[in-house]
Symmetry: C2
């Protein structure tokens, strides 16, 4: 059993309106030292696989087919044994 | 300048309908080895702070005041120098 931690972030060139709104709200709360906010997704997958390589392939397949939008988003996968 | 990476995850006891829906869709795509899916948030903050400790305090304050809902979510902060 493996756990894949997938970080999905918006590409640098894509505007992040949720992040902009959060930054604005933080400034209004007095946290003026916080300069930029970017909001992405963290997805944890529990995978039944024989080895780490197969687990990584399955996670990659899940990302490219469903979880990430590769036009706008980058993803990074970390695998750990559980 | 520091960058805080904040992982926000739903507490174990809270049902994750987005994760359940994603799991169901992955099963329909034939990825039957993926057993559980949990979806959280990954927030990156760029912080102007003199040292790591102050940066961590600011990130923690941002999380508890705005970014995380501590009734339903846990958060974990990592600080790196940029």
């Amino acid at each position: 059993m493996y756990r894949a931690k997938v970080n999905i972030t918006l590409r640098k060139s894509i505007l992040d309106p949720k992040g902009k709104a959060a930054r604005h709200a933080l400034q209004n709360l007095g946290l003026k030292e916080i300069d930029q906010v970017r909001i992405g997704k963290l997805i944890e997958l529990d995978i039944n696989a024989e080895n780490e390589e197969i687990a990584r392939e399955l996670a990659d397949s899940a990302c490219s087919q469903l979880l990430a939008n590769e036009v706008m988003e980058d993803y990074h996968i970390e695998i750990e044994k559980t």
